[in-house]
């Protein structure tokens, strides 16, 4: 079936998807059933949230709908007619569009150029001219504000997302799949996205919204389907349910929303950073004169959209990146441009961002990964040799204490789930180093249970006297854990404030760079 292509842009596809049905979808991967007879129906003009923890099968289901995977069994019907979707190309033909979590845009090209790429109706000569006109048309209709001539690399994450949405609309999508769309947005950008989505559904588009955030489900969706371990637990009308009920369905047990957080006086200074300047990989200044202190029994949270210098800041403090100027001291030891080993030996735990890329060696075993940062000193090694009997004993202890779910300590780490990999990293770092804990996006991409576990652990370490530097994009996490909050924007702190004296709204504005805060801090 080929939808009529003519006049697509103005009528939004010759055909509307009035009803999408996925029936008894079954998909097995080695060792795991990703989708177990899943049924899903999405009506025209609705926002349908797909809620579930990581590994629940949400993304697999959507990849099947978008033609990236083929189901082992099951059928897909559009407007009551059975369809076969073998590739994303088929999906696009049928009017299905997908906005991936990681954008697929060419940074050095303009918005219009990116959209014209792969857009079949673009004229051969001056394709962007026609497209620019049509982009303006979308801006008026849906509030998709964008400058067609801007280069992608000049755009914020929110704007890039709008480009992705426009791209799918250009290709005639009437059903949009958004995969965790708010994970890269500031609260204000999230609001804008939601108003765009509302206007899209007013025009009888439909939206499938993949998320694990309950607030968003409650705010934006009409109906919600909850997945757990590959199975549909329920599909309910959003207005007939509550956050608590959804959480229970998603996790399979009661979830505590407010973690217990003891009031505790902060102790002496552990980390002192003064006027730090650090360059990024391209030789541009990424950290521009940042100063702060972190104390014993304190969690210092750095909020901000990724790419504003947080990575460079953390790398400079942990010895992975050279400091251009300024100073970092840990427990009164100058660690400016020290080696990572020396900094580790002072008792600095580092939970790196992108845990699989930086934090582990995927093909090595659990026990070899458990000593990645300690292998070189006693008792993990003796002379030139590693002390494997001791390392294995130590690892078994960690696996028990931190309840890491692994078939054995010999298993290659790549076969563990994200949550268990993160637990292993935390176990490795915290078990031998606990003066200063530097945690970058520690719960990113983890399920509710693992997230809860890790946040509790950080709070426990705070009570035990560790100084904790927490970098996160997740504002909920920043507010739940931090004693003081700094917001980083374009390499600078927009301000540092005690948690009680600030609001989500303020932090959001600071993340977008449109507000600064007077130093209310006593340091």
């Amino acid at each position: 079936m080929k939808p009529k292509r003519r006049n697509t842009l103005h009528s939004q596809g010759g055909k509307k998807i009035e009803l999408l049905e996925m029936k008894n979808i079954y998909k097995k991967f080695p060792g795991v059933i990703a989708n177990d007879n899943v049924n899903l129906d999405v009506e025209g003009g609705e926002i349908h949230a797909l809620l579930g923890e990581n590994g629940a099968g949400k993304t697999t289901l959507m990849n099947i709908l978008y033609g990236i995977y083929q189901p082992d069994r099951g059928e897909i019907y559009i407007n009551g007619k059975k369809v076969t979707i073998r590739s994303p190309r088929d999906a696009i033909e049928l009017g299905i569009g997908m906005v991936h979590q990681h954008f697929m845009l060419i940074p050095t090209h303009t918005v219009a150029e990116n959209i014209s790429l792969g857009f079949k109706e673009a004229p051969f000569f001056y394709p962007t001219r026609v497209i620019e006109e049509r982009i303006c048309d979308f801006t008026d209709r849906y509030g998709l504000k964008i400058n067609p001539r801007a280069k992608i690399l000049q755009l914020s994450a929110g704007e890039q997302q709008r480009v992705e949405i426009i791209k799918t609309l250009f290709r005639g999508a009437s059903l949009l799949i958004l995969d965790e769309p708010t994970s890269v947005l500031t609260p204000q950008e999230t609001e804008e996205l939601f108003s765009i989505l509302k206007r899209l559904v007013e025009e009888k588009h439909s939206v499938i919204f993949i998320t694990h955030k309950l607030e968003e489900v409650m705010e934006i969706s009409d109906r919600v389907t909850v997945l757990r371990k590959g199975k549909v637990i329920a599909t309910v009308k959003t207005k007939d349910t509550s956050k608590k009920e959804l959480a229970r369905m998603m996790v399979g047990r009661e979830v505590i929303f407010q973690l217990e957080r003891k009031k505790i006086e902060k102790g002496e200074e552990v980390l002192k950073v003064k006027d730090l300047f650090v360059e990024n990989d391209r030789g541009l200044m990424a950290v521009k004169g940042v100063s702060f202190n972190v104390h014993k029994n304190e969690i210092f949270g750095i909020a901000g959209v990724a790419g504003n210098g947080q990575r460079e800041l953390v790398e400079a403090i942990t010895g992975l990146r050279r400091v251009k100027s300024g100073k970092a001291e840990i427990l009164n030891v100058d660690v400016t441009n020290s080696s990572p080993k020396r900094i580790g030996d002072i008792g600095v735990a580092h939970i790196p961002e992108e845990r699989i890329r930086f934090g582990i060696v995927p093909n090595l075993s659990v026990y070899e990964n458990a000593v990645l940062r300690d292998y070189y000193h006693e008792p993990f090694s003796k002379g030139s040799f590693l002390n494997y009997p001791y390392i294995k004993e130590h690892t078994k202890k960690l696996v028990r204490e931190f309840s890491i779910d692994t078939p054995s300590i010999e298993t290659p780490v790549k076969l563990l789930s994200g949550g268990n990999i993160q637990k292993l990293i935390l176990a490795r770092e915290i078990s031998t180093k606990s003066n200063l804990i530097i945690a970058a996006h520690p719960t990113y991409g983890l399920d509710v249970a693992a997230t809860e576990y890790i946040r509790k652990l950080l709070l426990k370490k705070r009570e035990e006297g560790a100084a904790i530097l927490l970098v996160s994009e997740d504002l909920e996490e920043i507010f739940e854990l931090s004693d003081r909050i700094a917001v980083m924007f374009e390499g600078k702190f927009m301000g540092i404030a005690p948690r009680e004296k600030t609001s989500l709204q303020d932090i959001g504005l600071m993340m977008a760079g449109s507000k600064t805060l007077e130093e209310k801090d006593e340091d």
Partner: protein
């Protein structure tokens, strides 16, 4: 019809072994096509190869002789490949080892006894092979230059340099104009097993090194660092591993062991330095296949080097008995390498065809 490609879960050692054997058989079958093009029954040719190498006492003697340099180079390569350092330069490292060993043998051989000269030749060969291996290591870590290119180019430099020496300043006065250096004296010559060309001291060194390198990779701190760098350089950086130091140690050992193979060839087989094609006949390249066939396990290299030693001998056999050029066996070896490496894909992924 559609083709599905899916990742498999954990792979059992048994399955790995079955696939390895399968890859060899496929390699042989594809390699057999070359003989078919030449109008020779491929099964007859394969039979000739294996009878020539493993079918007689003489065949075995020659097979082991050829296995010695393959074993040493192969052991060195397992180490470099574990660190994902694509050392294509074992041949040049071998030649450089031969070079310094020759110099030591010629200058000391006449005045000192064997128990002084021979160890010095091995030490010298190790050092000069290591030197030739360290150059690309430094160029990679410090300047970011791809090691495949540098190691390969250094092979040519080593070859041409030796070519120059044996035709020029080092040309022997007693060799009637042949491109050889003077022959080594007895104290610079390795003993052989009687009636064979097997210079057993080198063989023993090879077997001992296989064990030592296995222990080095699996049990020592440096071995661990090499594996971490090879598997995930980002994590190695995060762990504070010193890339320059580790890569230099790794390539010094890898090149050094290849250098020992060069010592064996000049002191055990030729008893003088001669043209590079005579000394090595591409051992450093064949050793790449030897190392991969052993799945980068130095202990298994002992077996895979004997296997490929046999194929080289078989190559000589078909060269003489069927009048095929020796290059045939190189093509054959190359096809086996491609087969052994590509089977990895089928090990990691399951492919099914549905109609």
């Amino acid at each position: 019809m559609k083709i599905k490609v899916e990742r498999r879960g954990e792979i059992s050692p048994k399955k790995r072994f079955v696939y390895l054997i399968l890859s060899l058989i496929i390699g042989f079958l594809i390699g057999g096509l070359i003989f078919l093009f030449k109008g020779i029954n491929p099964f007859y040719a394969l039979q000739k190869i294996f009878v020539g190498s493993f079918g007689s006492i003489y065949g075995w003697k020659e097979t082991i002789t050829k296995a010695i340099p393959l074993m040493l180079c192969g052991i060195g390569l397992t180490l470099a490949f574990k660190g994902k350092f694509w050392n294509i330069g074992a041949d040049g490292q071998l030649l450089f080892g031969a070079l310094l060993a020759t110099w030591i043998g010629l200058s000391l051989g006449k005045t000192y006894p064997a128990f002084v000269v021979l160890p010095l030749m091995f030490v010298g060969g190790f050092i000069s092979g290591a030197f030739w291996g360290i150059i690309p290591a430094i160029m990679k870590v410090k300047l970011g230059i791809n090691e495949v290119i540098t190691t390969l180019m250094l092979n040519y430099i080593a070859e041409q340099f030796i070519q120059y020496l044996v035709y020029g300043p080092w040309k022997g006065k007693t060799q009637y104009g042949f491109p050889y250096t003077d022959n080594f004296s007895a104290s610079a010559t390795l003993p052989v097993i009687k009636g064979t060309r097997i210079h057993y001291p080198t063989l023993i060194i090879g077997i001992i090194l296989a064990i030592l390198i296995y222990i080095f990779i699996m049990k020592t701190k440096t071995g661990y660092e090499i594996r971490v760098i090879g598997e995930n350089p980002e994590a190695a950086k995060y762990a504070g591993i010193n890339f320059l130091k580790t890569t230099i140690i790794m390539m010094a050992i890898s090149g050094g062991i290849a250098g020992l193979a060069g010592v064996g060839e000049v002191a055990g087989i030729h008893h003088h330095l001669t043209t590079p094609t005579q000394i090595s006949s591409g051992y450093g390249y064949t050793a790449i296949i030897v190392a991969w066939l052993a799945r980068l396990n130095p202990l298994v290299v002992i077996l895979s080097s004997i296997f490929f030693g046999g194929i080289l001998v078989g190559g000589d056999t078909i060269q003489t008995s069927m009048g095929l050029p020796f290059a045939t066996i190189n093509i054959f070896n190359g096809l086996i390498l491609i087969s052994v490496i590509s089977i990895n894909f089928f090990l990691e992924y399951k492919i099914s065809i549905k109609r």
